[in-house]
């Protein structure tokens, strides 16, 4: 039997890009997306501008969506879930479920582009009171306000005078079990800090960090402008706890450079929550029997020279399904997976 169709699970940036490329290389591609709309987290979570290029997220995603769906070889099905997978490389049989019924399709290869979810700060080891104080928000919450061009204190609706970002919430934390760096939060916080200063010019903005991880061009594109043009204050020292005092948030930590405890009032505190494998990533990994690491991300066990092949032949994983990834990484891995998958479908020997 056999099938020369490529199935892409997940229509976020990585899934869309993998579909577009595989289609351009001549393969038939079916993209399945659980949500009602394509575009992944940037759309679902109302991202404002993309990190690192500051491009409008909605506009960029629309471009990616139309590039994929505009290709005659690509079929996109939203509001559709993968509920069963049988078979093996070259001959997968996949059950798709919608609200109205099930359908079985065949596929020769599968790309998992099921992505991440934001860490739920209810589980942090610090005492930040996300579920207690309305003015303690996450990067995603802040992103939504920035997109609406209405960055305010949620408790009052007034523009904040003092805004703090706290890095590494739910990342690099042995007690939570997320020992990894989520890679993007330093950049996103700094990007948002710039946007807050643009939208609320009178606000003072602070970033409390353990290490600022602004690798490559993020340094001069985001970090330096944040400090030099937008006068964002970077304080080395992580916040210990947040409580309420006189109607404002009291942020308590150590200014480690100065070597002393500090207590400062804030109007809005943004928790730079990290990434965790999405529920879809966990479910698909289990259904397909692909190995995951101890954090639940899909493993790419073939070493650093193959970043997209999983433990199951014919199944590839891209983007943040394999670990924290920024947009650039996700798009790059999508290309690699598309090329490998198409080669496989054509019967070419692909060294993994």
């Amino acid at each position: 039997m056999g099938s020369d169709r490529l199935l892409v699970i997940g229509a976020g940036p990585a899934g869309l890009e993998a579909a577009r490329l595989a289609a351009s290389l001549g393969s038939q591609v079916l993209v399945v997306e659980k949500r009602d709309v394509a575009g992944g987290m940037p759309i679902h979570e109302n991202y404002a501008a993309l990190t690192h290029g500051f491009r409008d997220a909605g506009e960029a995603m629309s471009e990616l969506i139309s590039a994929a769906t505009g290709h005659p070889n690509v079929e996109l099905r939203t509001a559709t879930e993968v509920t069963a997978v049988d078979g093996s490389v070259g001959d997968f049989s996949v059950t798709l479920s919608t609200g109205t019924g099930d359908e079985t399709v065949d596929a020769g290869a599968i790309i998992l582009a099921t992505g991440f979810q934001h860490f739920d700060p209810g589980r942090e080891t610090q005492q930040y009171g996300y579920y207690e104080f309305p003015d303690v928000i996450t990067l995603a919450d802040a992103e939504a306000m920035l997109k609406a061009n209405n960055f305010v204190r949620p408790s009052t609706g007034e523009p904040p005078e003092r805004v703090a970002f706290i890095q590494c919430v739910g990342s690099r934390d042995r007690q939570i079990g997320n020992e990894f760096c989520s890679k993007v939060c330093c950049g996103i916080s700094s990007k948002q800090a710039i946007e807050v200063r643009q939208q609320v010019p009178d606000a003072r903005v602070f970033i409390f960090y353990i290490d600022m991880r602004m690798y490559g061009y993020w340094e001069n594109e985001i970090y330096w402008p944040a400090q030099e043009e937008y006068r964002v204050n970077y304080v080395k020292g992580i916040v210990t706890e947040i409580l309420s005092k006189n109607g404002r948030l009291l942020v308590r930590g150590e200014d480690t450079t100065m070597g002393r405890p500090m207590e400062v009032p804030m109007d809005v505190v943004v928790l730079a929550v990290g990434m965790e494998p999405s529920l879809g990533t966990r479910k698909m990994a289990e259904m397909l029997g692909v190995a995951t690491n101890k954090y639940g991300y899909i493993e790419t066990p073939h070493g650093e020279l193959d970043t997209v092949s999983t433990s199951v032949p014919g199944v590839f994983a891209v983007g943040a399904a394999t670990g924290p990834a920024d947009l650039d990484d996700s798009i790059s891995s999508a290309g690699a997976a598309a090329a490998k998958a198409v080669a496989l479908l054509r019967g070419a020997e692909v060294t993994v």
Binding site: T125, Q126, Q127, C168, R172, D173, R174, Q175, I210, D211, K236, G237, I238, V239, T240, E241, R252, G253, E254, D255, T256, G259, P261, M262, E263
Partner: protein, 244 residues
């Protein structure tokens, strides 16, 4: 450990809490041996992984607000295995810690407070001057807990020892026998112990001290105290047919 090395005065740092008395320097090898002993404690691997220098422990730390004390520096010195600095800390800083374990929220899962428990224990085991100083005025408490199985009994709450607690202390102390009898639970009519502990229980407690080398630690920090406790223990144990 021997204290043969010539006395070298370490400058007292501002905020140091122990009596302004210099402690003696010792050869590097002796400091290293102390550190090796700290690392050999079975708890050590659970108390120190690595340190981000994030300071999350410092803002949570009550002692850091009052003293020149930083749980981050304790963890960092240990992580760097800075034997000289650790020796300095064992001779001073470690006694400032409140042992509240507020620092246990470390993202690396370090426990600076737990590390200090070990550092103190090694300081005591080797009778470092700091442990002797830190425990000055504290011998009665050690005596009480080790010989009676309860700590700071009702009759230790005397006005001369707690002048800052106001006149209530005197009233309690004046009325102590009567007020203790006015307690409904039968085990609380005691004045020289927190509650009534049976003799068999005490005997078992003494055996625990005996079999776990605690008495040797006491001897290092306070020979007089060691003798008094040993007297009490021996009498009870010998009556019960144990030879010490």
């Amino acid at each position: 450990m021997s204290r043969a090395a010539p006395a070298t005065t370490f400058a007292q740092r501002p905020g140091a809490t122990l009596a302004p008395r210099a402690y003696e320097d010792v050869p590097y090898e002796e400091k290293l041996a102390l550190w090796e002993e700290v690392k050999a404690d079975p708890r050590f691997p659970d108390y120190l992984y690595g340190c981000y220098e994030c300071g999350i422990c410092v803002a949570a730390c009550p002692s850091a607000r009052f003293y020149d004390f930083s749980p981050r520096k304790i963890a960092q010195a240990a992580a760097r295995e800075d034997v000289e600095l650790i020796f300095e800390q064992m001779n001073d800083d470690v006694w400032n810690c409140s042992q509240c374990f507020s620092c246990d929220r470390c993202p690396r899962q370090n426990s600076p407070g737990g590390l200090i428990t070990i550092l103190r224990e090694v300081a005591v085991r080797h009778g470092l001057a700091s442990s002797q100083e830190a425990l000055e005025g504290y011998g009665r408490v050690v005596y009480k807990i080790m010989t009676t199985g309860t700590q700071v009994s009702p009759d230790m709450l005397q006005p001369d020892a707690f002048p800052d607690w106001g006149p209530d202390v005197k009233e309690v102390s004046d009325q102590l026998d009567l007020w203790r009898r006015a307690l409904p639970p039968e085990t609380l009519h005691t004045t020289s112990t927190g509650w009534e502990v049976s003799e068999k229980t005490l005997l078992e407690l003494y055996l625990i001290w005996h079999y776990s080398d605690v008495m040797d630690m006491i001897e290092e920090v306070d020979e007089g105290l060691h003798m008094i406790i040993l007297d009490v223990m021996e009498e009870t144990l010998e009556e019960a047919g144990y030879e010490i």
